[in-house]
Structures are given as structure tokens and as C-alpha cells.
């Protein structure tokens, strides 16, 4: 078990470094599937080009696997209000994301839910609502001109 855990950890660490530095989604993540994991956050790195979180997930037998969750970069997340304290080590969270093709313990972030029901969404989701508001305003201006 220890060997498998160490192997998974090594794979996860290597994967973090290989992807974070040079952006590639489709050769690594399957955007058609999502996976949800429940665990305890051990680290959240609010950095560019991609922010990263590690989370320990315990299975029914008690074995712990360390998962890596990849986010958009600090720049994109901060534009929609995220900070380095948006996620804290020690938090219990439920995280949903796109899994890797190779079924490594790794996700690309889609959604985080805390025990109190509050949630964090990627920058893209909050950006979309801002874009919808801009579009509505433009439509109103268009209709006023008529």
C-alpha cells in the first residue's frame, strides 16, 4: 500500500510540474467526464500560470491518496475575486473536476463545495455571468436606439 501511495504521489508530483508550466488540456484531461472527490486540503498554491491544490482522500479501507487539482492561473482567478486564502489547508471539501485520461489522481477544477454548502466556481463561471450582464446591457441600448 505504501509503495502504491508513494508511486501515486510521485506520478502526481511529476504531472503537476509537467502540465502547469506549459498549458495543455486535451492531451492530459478528458473534458467529457467529471469526477468528484471528498477530502482534506493540504495545500493551495495561488500562482501563475496555473494554481494548484493538493487534497488527501481517504477510501473505505482507510488508505489515503493524495490528489492534485489544477486551476486556472492566479491572474484569471484574482479577476473574479479569488485570493490566496480562498482555499485553506485543513479544510474539508468536495471537489469536482475533469479527470486525466490516464486515471492519475489528478483533476482539472470545475467546482468546490464546503460542508456548509458554500461553493467556489472557476473564474470562467463568474466571467460568464459578467458577460451575460454586458450582453443584456448592450441589447437594452440596441432596443433604445430603435
Amino acid at each position: 500500500m505504501t509503495r502504491n501511495y508513494l508511486l501515486a504521489l510521485a506520478v502526481a508530483v511529476l504531472a503537476v510540474r509537467s502540465v502547469s508550466a506549459h498549458h495543455a488540456f486535451s492531451p492530459v484531461y478528458d473534458d467529457k467526464r467529471t469526477v468528484t472527490i471528498d477530502g482534506v486540503v493540504t495545500e493551495f498554491r495561488f500562482v501563475n500560470p496555473h494554481s494548484m491544490m493538493t487534497i488527501e482522500v481517504r477510501d473505505e479501507s482507510g488508505a489515503v491518496t493524495r490528489w492534485v487539482v489544477e486551476f486556472a492561473g492566479r491572474l484569471n482567478l484574482s479577476e473574479v475575486g479569488w485570493t490566496a486564502n480562498s482555499i485553506r489547508a485543513g479544510e474539508k471539501v468536495s471537489v469536482t473536476g475533469n479527470p486525466t485520461w490516464e486515471k492519475m489522481p489528478r483533476l482539472f477544477f470545475k467546482r468546490l463545495v464546503r460542508p456548509d454548502g458554500s461553493e467556489l466556481l472557476p473564474g470562467a463561471a463568474q466571467r460568464d455571468s459578467a458577460l451575460e450582464a454586458e450582453r443584456r446591457q448592450r441589447a437594452q441600448e440596441r432596443d433604445r436606439r430603435k
Binding site: L14, A15, H22, A24, S26, P27, V28, V47, D128, R142
Partner: protein, 262 residues
């Protein structure tokens, strides 16, 4: 005595020569991802007049008011894709777009090729170097380009390089940069370009003074039937910082578009 006169003359010439930055300082400093807006979303990487016109047409039509904005952006992006495809030479079109799993930046940790780098997301930092050069530093890959502002010609026998050889000039308040001497590489829109690629970039300030537009004309007879014009938008971002790339490692496993893994 003669040497003192010579030094004095050189000093007078140096002082009389207009500074690179005089009246053009607006471009100096840090730019980054564009404001959160529909146009910003469309042109954060790169876009075209075709895409911008398509978006405006869609927004002007009330029948589209109930469609999600992402759907409109995707439609505009599809028009852009058609524009790019229509400009590719037949040999390139046969295998276009290439499999992202073959992207040398992903596969081999190679920094972006010049024609791709100039459209890369995130930061662009413009810094004057002395009186006759500008440095363009990019957040993605932390690459730095030198742009010669003294009108010099590309050296004879210049060996094509990743970022090529760039000469710039001011056209009013627009910075115009001509680049050639590029080694073949993956360009914007995953266009596989040749060493005959030539690019003319034109940087202008947005009306609000807080945005920067790039309009670039790309010419490559081996890759493009005729020149293609691409655009990109940045936001003034003095608070932003470029993080060095220090830990790139090649992927150990890659999922290809045909479903195979290597």
C-alpha cells in the same frame, strides 16, 4: 585637444538625438489579459475582424438575445476558424489542425515559436533598452524579444531563430514591428509556418488608454495562400508580475486525438 572635441561632438549628437521613449511612453510597462468583456473573451488569445464582425452581427440581432453568450462567442470563433482555413495552403489544410499532443511546447518543453509567442495570453511587458531598442517580455514562457528601433537591416546570413529578427518604428503613436528570420514553428491557430514567415505587428492604444491592441499581418507563401490578419487585446496591468518558468518537465504519457496513448 582633438579627442576632447570629438568627445564633445559625440555628446552633442547623443543629446540631440530624440529619445526612443519621447512621446511614446504609453506602451512602456506591463500589459496583461484583457478586461472581462465579450471582446476581451474573443481576443484574449487572438481574433480577427471576421470574428469581431460576426460577434457584432450576432449581438445586433434580437433573435440571439436568448442564446447563451458563450454560444455566440463560439459562433464568432467558428467564423474565425473558417477564415484561417480559407487562407491555408492545400498541403497544410490536409492535416489541419495538428494534434495538440504533438505541440512541441507541451511535448518537449520548447518555448513558443515567435509567431505564437506574440499572441500568447497573460503578460506583455515593454521596456526600453538604451535609446535604440525595446524589449518585449512575455509572461508565457518568460521569453524576451529585442526590437531594434534604429532601422538597422537584418544581418546578412542571419540564421533563422525562434523569435526571429525584429525592427520597429513609430508611425504616429502606433508602434510598428517587422519580423523575419523566424525558424519554422507552431504559430497562432496552430498554423505550422515556415522560415519564410514575415510578420508586421502594429500596436495601438485603445481609446480609454488602458487597453492595447495588436493587429498583425502574417505572410508565409509556404503556409498561407495570402496574408492573414490577426488581432489581440491586452489590458494595462501595472500590478501584474511575470513568474519565471523554472520547472518544465516533459509529459510521461500523452493522449492523442486518435485515442491512442504514448
Amino acid at each position: 585637444m582633438a579627442s576632447r572635441v570629438l568627445i564633445l561632438l559625440l555628446l552633442i549628437v547623443a543629446l540631440a538625438r530624440p529619445s526612443l521613449a519621447q512621446g511614446k511612453r504609453w506602451i512602456e510597462g506591463m500589459w496583461s489579459d484583457p478586461p472581462v468583456s465579450m471582446i476581451g473573451s474573443l481576443c484574449a488569445g487572438h481574433c480577427s475582424d471576421v470574428a469581431l464582425n460576426a460577434l457584432n452581427e450576432l449581438l445586433d440581432d434580437p433573435r440571439n438575445d436568448s442564446r447563451p453568450v458563450q454560444q455566440l462567442l463560439q459562433t464568432a470563433a467558428a467564423r474565425h476558424d473558417a477564415y484561417v482555413r480559407a487562407h491555408l495552403v492545400p498541403e497544410l489544410l490536409k492535416t489541419y489542425p495538428p494534434d495538440p499532443a504533438d505541440d512541441p511546447s507541451f511535448l518537449n518543453c520548447e518555448p513558443y515559436a515567435g509567431a505564437r509567442q506574440m499572441f500568447s495570453r497573460h503578460q506583455l511587458q515593454v521596456t526600453p533598452i538604451g535609446r535604440d531598442r525595446l524589449e518585449l517580455r512575455y509572461g508565457e514562457w518568460d521569453q524576451r524579444r529585442t526590437v531594434y528601433m534604429d532601422g538597422r537591416a537584418k544581418p546578412t546570413g542571419y540564421t533563422p531563430s525562434r523569435l526571429g529578427f525584429s525592427v520597429g518604428r513609430w508611425d504616429g503613436n502606433a508602434l510598428v514591428i517587422a519580423t523575419s528570420g523566424l525558424a519554422p514553428g507552431w504559430g497562432p491557430d496552430n498554423i505550422l509556418y515556415s522560415d519564410q514567415m514575415q510578420i508586421v505587428e502594429r500596436y495601438t492604444r485603445g481609446e480609454d488608454g488602458k487597453t492595447l491592441w495588436l493587429t498583425a499581418t502574417l505572410t508565409d507563401p509556404k503556409a498561407l495562400r495570402e496574408p492573414i490578419v490577426l488581432k489581440k487585446l491586452w489590458r494595462w496591468a501595472p500590478e501584474s508580475e511575470i513568474a519565471p518558468v523554472v520547472d518544465c518537465e516533459k509529459p510521461t504519457s500523452v493522449h492523442r486525438r486518435d485515442g491512442t496513448t504514448r
